[in-house]
């Protein structure tokens, strides 16, 4: 563990004041990084300001109550309350969220599930709310009378899966959905976010999640714009499109040729893990060592959290976008558990230990990302307000840091889009720095909703191979 080593090597004094309570915090997470350049630029100024902002929280100084490791507890009740409120009536200041309301359904229901709440009581209300958002020509829009969009469709399908039940699943018009996805598929293999909208890796991920949860046919309808390039299926050329988005830094960009960005790394890995089992698809299409190098560079000390790009600041939401990459990367490196050896798909050695500092991330999340006022919710960093988006993705990142996922059995054949069997267990290596009451529930590493919710919706639609 990084923490244990840090204590042994460091001789620099911890910044915890002499009157502060004695917490066991490795100095790695309380002091300036070992190397700092003197040249000042815009980037270094905001980075320094972020350190100043986070250190009082990281040292425990800012918290009224901490455990022996200097960490405040997870303010579960307040976060639950915050998420319930975000699903209720919202004031006019939320008007800019008018085109993205389905995201609120997903963020809040996923966040509540991570906090151990039963979200099934929202079933009826969710069904009635999303019904007018579905368009006859397929897909769900951000709201009634708007154009269907892959992001809001993704969020709606996941929200329906979260509340569960046949009635919820049956809201989706699968035939129209399939036709609409065919119309979004592009000649270069990727997906547009909406008809006439932008094409990026989000589209690749959202489309593959929707297709694999609803068990949609993979054939391409003959009027799809992708047919002109010889594509015959929704997934043909998709992995190659994702491959083109890996950059010289090793990370993944929104579209080929731009800057690597954490959110797109997760989308790329998620998409590939749907196209085929991660130990086959990820090494086949991405330069894994370079990707790991870039992902690992996203973690900063003393903050402990992840940034989204080189020389950008830590932000709680990357706890998921970058933190959520690690289970998929580990599955890619380790392959199915219990297999005699790597099945020869790639020459990379297994990852025996965690590739990132789980403790660092847990520290950043519990110390810096919780709004500990009555408002509750999780945030980007201490100077920012909490919101549903950050609450969902910070909690998802916390869950990934607290647990270990293993791919047990890969799908029977690479041509089917479901069937990978995963197991999850609490991460047990080293001393646990958070109290057991602060453990959150788990979500599927690809779909980011509880594993049994994925199984339930997939088995419901498994019986419907046509429409």
């Amino acid at each position: 563990m990084a923490a244990a080593t840090a204590q042994t090597w460091s001789d620099s004094p911890s910044q915890v004041g002499s009157d502060a309570p004695e917490y066991s915090i490795p100095s790695l997470f309380t002091s300036d990084p070992p190397i700092r350049d003197t040249l000042e630029t815009g980037s270094s100024r905001v980075q320094d300001a972020t350190l100043d902002e986070c250190l009082p929280f990281l040292t425990g100084y800012q918290h009224s109550e901490c455990n022996a490791h200097g960490l405040p507890h997870l303010d579960r009740g307040r976060h639950i309350n915050f998420l319930h409120k975000q699903l209720g009536k919202l004031p006019g200041a939320f008007t800019s969220a008018d085109p993205s309301r389905p995201w609120f359904f997903y963020w809040c229901l996923a966040g509540l599930s991570l906090l151990g709440e039963d979200v099934a009581p929202y079933r009826e209300r969710l069904i009635e709310t999303v019904r007018p958002m579905q368009n006859a020509l397929g897909g769900f829009a951000g709201g009634f009378g708007q154009t269907s969009h892959l992001a809001t469709t993704y969020a709606t399908v996941l929200a329906l899966a979260l509340v569960g039940g046949d009635e919820a699943y049956d809201v989706v018009d699968r035939r129209a959905m399939w036709r609409w996805l065919c119309s979004l598929k592009q000649p270069d293999g990727g997906f547009q976010m909406a008809l006439g909208g932008e094409e990026d890796v989000r589209g690749a991920y959202c489309a593959s999640v929707i297709i694999s949860l609803l068990n949609l046919p993979l054939d391409l309808s003959p009027d799809s714009p992708a047919c002109s390039a010889g594509h015959t299926g929704l997934f043909t050329g998709l992995a190659e499109y994702v491959r083109r988005c890996q950059t010289y830094e090793g990370g993944v960009s929104a579209k080929p040729g731009v800057e690597a960005h954490g959110a797109y790394a997760f989308c790329a890995l998620g998409c590939l893990s749907i196209i085929d089992s991660p130990h086959r698809a990820i090494p086949r299409y991405l330069d894994v060592p370079l990707l790991i190098s870039w992902l690992s560079s996203r973690q900063y000390a003393p903050e402990g959290g992840f940034s989204g790009r080189t020389n950008k600041l830590v932000d709680g939401c990357y706890s998921h976008w970058v933190g959520g990459c690690w289970p998929l990367i580990e599955a890619a490196l380790n392959g199915p558990r219990g297999a005699a050896a790597n099945p020869g798909d790639h020459p990379l050695p297994r990852a025996m230990e965690s590739l990132s500092s789980r403790d660092g991330l847990i520290r950043y999340i519990l110390s810096c990302c919780q709004d500990q006022s009555r408002r509750g919710g999780m945030r980007d960093k201490p100077s920012k307000y909490s919101d549903a988006y950050h609450t969902c993705y910070v909690l998802s990142g916390l869950s990934a840091a607290q647990h270990k996922w293993d791919l047990v059995t890969p799908r029977a054949h690479e041509s089917i889009v479901a069937g990978d069997v995963w197991t999850v267990s609490p991460y047990m290596e080293g001393e646990q720095i958070f109290d057991e009451e602060d453990r959150v529930c788990t979500v599927h590493p690809v779909y980011v909703i509880p594993q049994h919710k994925v199984e339930e919706i997939q088995s419901y639609f498994a019986t419907k191979s046509g429409f």
């Binding site: 990084a2 080593t5 840090a6 090597w9 070992p34 190397i35 350049d37 040249l39 630029t41 815009g42 980037s43 699903l87 209720g88 009536k89 919202l90 004031p91 006019g92 939320f94 008007t95 800019s96 969220a97 008018d98 993205s100 309301r101 209300r125 009635e128 709310t129 009634f144 009378g145 708007q146 154009t147 909406a194 008809l195 006439g196 909208g197 932008e198 491959r243 890996q246 010289y248 830094e249 929104a254 579209k255 040729g257 731009v258 800057e259 690597a260 790991i292 190098s293 560079s297 080189t310 020389n311 050695p349 297994r350 990852a351 025996m352 230990e353 965690s354 590739l355 500092s357 660092g360």
Partner: protein
């Protein structure tokens, strides 16, 4: 109403002595002076109703105060008779003819109120949720007058509409401009009245005769919908009209104005942007005009990204039109770059701006030294601006004249001239020297070496400047990225032991938060040995 029984027909004055008004709605015309002199003037309409209730229900107040048993026999009789009026009238109480005659005779004689107000009359609530019962009588009168006024205006409004319809069918007189002016004023007054009385949405569109033929489609939202937003009235109105014209697939100048209206209130509304582009292409509107307008919107909405997809759609649409005119393309590229520079001055790492810039370079073939120079300026401003470094990489290694189409970002591309590789290595090294712990130029350097198919050892000497006495007591490292690259250099040289030392020191001292990664890198070294 009492039946025309013999008793009542004989009664000389079937109405009670007191002035009584039956339905509370009709009370409005009852001036307070007509109230019984002993009652104080009521402050509110519900107090007034209460007074009237007691006046039309004799002995009710007394009964409430002293109870039924406390009443005098005469009061008790009055009270009972009053309460029997309705049952007797409706024949719920069977009386002999004689008894009935006696009953009505008594009622008439005493002047008992035949029709009475019910207790606790509910006045309902107004649009702001205030109980109308708490209005003063004056306020209620004003409200009633407004209702009457609105009704009158609605009649005139309907007359205007039918006149205009007839005129359109050439069956009636033309609608004069005075008529239109009058109608405009009328609608403003009606809108104000409706807003006042019912809180009804009456934004600019409902008042605007141009939108008369459109029936807005309001938000279809079930009771208890999740994350329901309390939209401001003008926004709710505008998107209701938007839904209507989109459903009708109308692409007209007024729709273009409507999209602008919606965008001004909510630029994140992706649907309105896609619709706007459709209108522009259907009406074949001027793209330069649209770009000028868009610049203003973009500057006041720095974080918005719908703007950039719209801009890209405009370029895709416009490019084939000007494809042949090199000068026009060059001017357009210059003005676009100038605008991008303005946007980046506000936020030098704005992802959407850089994505658009990358798109523009490919679309308009801006593989120019001035584009490189302008990107370089941003690196000079902030050598840690990784977006600028990424754009530089794209500019240098995707230029179709000097690169292989489809070459991956980490692939060796023999088509890239050696001089370019040399220049880029030198540039990265200069920038590393300014701030060695800045990862951007290190990543860039590795990328350039891969493109050039150069051995990492070619930069070994440069890298070693930042690491001295490794593993010794006087160990000095001024860049963890140098140590990282050095590990790769040693690995390439086959010196796995030294490579392992670099990784160990990174893990122990120079970048310990990435300990797990450095340890994994060490296992990669072993893999290399085994496979060697």
């Amino acid at each position: 109403m009492p039946p025309k029984s013999k008793g009542s027909s004989k009664a000389p004055n079937p109405e009670p002595k007191e002035p009584l008004h039956l339905h509370p709605n009709l009370i409005a015309d009852l001036s307070p002076s007509q109230a019984a002199p002993e009652s104080p003037l009521p402050q509110t309409v519900s107090l007034r109703s209460e007074q009237r209730f007691f006046r039309t229900n004799p002995c009710e107040k007394r009964r409430q105060d002293v109870g039924l048993s406390g009443l005098t026999p005469a009061e008790k009789k009055t009270y009972t008779y009053t309460h029997l009026i309705l049952p007797v009238a409706n024949r719920h109480v069977p009386l002999s003819n004689k008894a009935e005659r006696e009953f009505w005779k008594h009622v008439t004689k005493e002047g008992l109120p035949i029709r009475r107000l019910p207790a606790n009359y509910s006045w309902g609530k107004d649009r702001s949720g205030r109980d109308i019962g708490t209005y003063s009588p004056d306020e209620l009168e004003q409200r009633t007058l407004k209702h009457a006024r609105l009704t009158a205006l609605q009649i005139q409004h309907r007359q205007f509409l039918s006149k205009r319809e007839l005129a359109a069918k050439k069956q009636g007189a033309e609608v004069s401009s005075e008529d239109i002016e009058e109608e405009k004023k009328r609608r403003q007054t009606m809108a104000a009245l409706k807003r006042d009385l019912y809180g009804e949405i009456t934004g600019t569109l409902a008042k605007d005769p141009e939108w008369d033929d459109v029936i807005p489609i309001p938000q279809d939202e079930p009771e208890g919908a999740l994350a329901q937003i309390a939209y401001p009235d003008d926004y709710a109105e505008a998107v209701s009209y938007l839904r209507a014209v989109m459903a009708a697939d109308e692409c007209s100048p007024r729709c273009l104005r409507l999209t602008e209206h919606v965008i001004s209130m909510n630029p994140a509304h992706y649907t309105v942007w896609l619709y706007r582009f459709k209108i522009i292409s259907v009406l074949k509107l001027s793209i330069p005009d649209e770009i000028t307008w868009l610049n203003q919107v973009a500057l006041s909405n720095l974080k918005n990204y719908q703007i950039w997809n719209h801009r890209q759609l405009l370029m895709d649409y416009y490019y084939p039109v000007i494809e042949e005119e090199t000068a026009v393309i060059r001017t357009l590229a210059r003005s676009e770059t100038a605008f991008i520079t303005t946007m980046l001055a506000e936020d030098a790492k704005n992802y959407h701006v850089w994505s658009y810039r990358q798109y523009l370079v490919g679309k308009l073939s801006v593989w120019t030294s001035s584009e490189l120079g302008s990107t370089q300026n941003l690196i000079e401003d902030d050598v840690r601006n990784n977006s600028a470094w990424s754009h530089r990489f794209y500019l240098v290694f995707s230029d179709p004249t000097d690169s292989t189409a489809g070459s991956g970002p980490t692939e060796h591309d023999p088509k890239v001239p050696d001089s370019t590789i040399d220049r880029e290595i030198k540039y990265a090294q200069e920038k590393i020297a300014l701030a060695p712990q800045n990862q951007s130029p290190w990543n860039y350097l590795l990328g350039v070496l891969a493109k050039g198919g150069r051995k990492l050892a070619t930069v070994q000497e440069f890298v070693e400047q930042y690491v001295s006495a490794l593993g010794e007591e006087m160990e000095e490292v001024t860049s963890s990225h140098a140590l990282d690259l050095l590990a790769k250099v040693y690995q390439e040289n086959g010196d796995t032991e030294k490579a392992a030392l670099c990784l160990r020191r990174l893990s122990e001292k120079w970048d310990p938060v990435r300990e797990g990664y450095w340890k994994y890198r060490a296992t990669l070294l072993q893999g290399a040995v085994e496979s060697a």
